[in-house]
Symmetry: C2
Subunit: 219 residues, 2 copies
């Protein structure tokens, strides 16, 4: 699979060895994440809002109410930066200065376009559910025409994209390796615990396997 081409904005400068333009890496991060942070300019000032998303090929979709200020601004062609970050671990070095975190992040720059085609919109809504919890869509009531109309869906092309990845152990200054303190990595992951059934759930409806065995691990 081909790589994204670095631009002035996506060229990773600081710690350039962490910069990644590989499509598979970018897709892997986007597909594992649940929340993205959407940055845009409102009245001349930056705003960052968390939201859910989905991806098909080289298009990222976000959605929300038709009365959302953010979506309204973006639908008019405002510049946007979407960032997805996965925290993989704490990197515990011998020196305070060399502490770090293992993470994978993707930054997407561009402009959003409003999805108006009803079929594409419906498909995007399926995608939002299946992105968060695969297997769910086929079991639930699909959106009505009215619900579709109440939802704004925006498409953001994956064109100007970069990833940053840090993995592996702490890197201390050579002289610090003799300091007698525990050093290494404490892995972190987003995990699910026991599902909480809705109080109005009728007797006899089992927890589905896609809920019981939920995991964000991908690929």
């Amino acid at each position: 699979m081909s790589n994204y081409v670095p631009t002035e904005r996506t060229q990773v400068r600081r710690l350039a060895k962490r910069g990644v333009y590989d499509r598979d890496v970018v897709y892997g991060i986007l597909d594992e994440g649940i929340v993205c942070h959407v940055g845009f300019i409102a009245e001349g000032k930056p705003v960052v809002i968390p939201t859910n998303y989905g991806r098909i090929d080289d298009t990222l979709y976000i959605h929300g109410s038709v009365v959302s200020r953010m979506l309204g601004a973006l639908a008019k062609g405002a510049d946007v930066c979407v960032t997805v970050t996965l925290l993989d671990g704490l990197v515990l070095a011998r020196a305070a200065f060399d502490h770090s975190v293992n993470y994978r992040s993707v930054m997407i720059f561009g402009k959003a376009t409003l999805v108006e085609d009803a079929n594409v919109k419906q498909e995007a809504l399926r995608l939002f559910t299946e992105h968060v919890i695969p297997g769910r869509w086929q079991e639930v009531r699909p959106p009505t025409e009215k619900e579709l109309q109440a939802t704004t869906v925006l498409a953001i092309p994956l064109e100007e994209v970069s990833a940053k990845v840090r993995t592996g152990p702490p890197i201390d200054a050579e002289a610090d390796y003799t300091i007698p303190v525990w050093a290494g990595v404490l892995p972190l992951q987003l995990t699910a615990s026991t599902p909480i059934a809705d109080q109005r759930l009728p007797q006899g409806i089992e927890v589905p396997e896609y809920v019981r065995k939920y995991s964000r691990k991908r690929g």
Copy 2:
């Protein structure tokens, strides 16, 4: 403890019942989070970068290399929006449209100032480590003068601040409660797994309790 005062920017409009201005709630979210997303404007366009942070009272600190473009821009007084988001669970409703997530997020608007006082800077560096992993600072080598000079620390006042919180079960349309599908909440949390010792760690250094028993739960 007094509340933050909503401004034009922090007044939560969409789903206003989710808006929170209570200091304790804001502090709780900030103290549990590890990564914030910093939004600023570079060459007229929005940029969102993930980074670590720490908090003392009503000041949020971020830091990085003195050659960081982001910190350079912010140190000059650029407007900034810092957002911290904790994902608490998937909210599985009977209708696709009513699916949601339980989350807690904080948005901070303002301008950063450069921390130049060496004592405050040193204290902020302690804070960054202790925010991520309490108990660590006293065991590791503190920063040298040279390391301090290589680090930019910025302070962002917690003045124009809001939180958004969703908790609880799915809320379906009344007619949908008869749909025979499992509904409820799948709780999510960031959890630590088995620590991975650095390959160069000498024999006999045990994993400290603050690593073995690591948890982000606060308060």
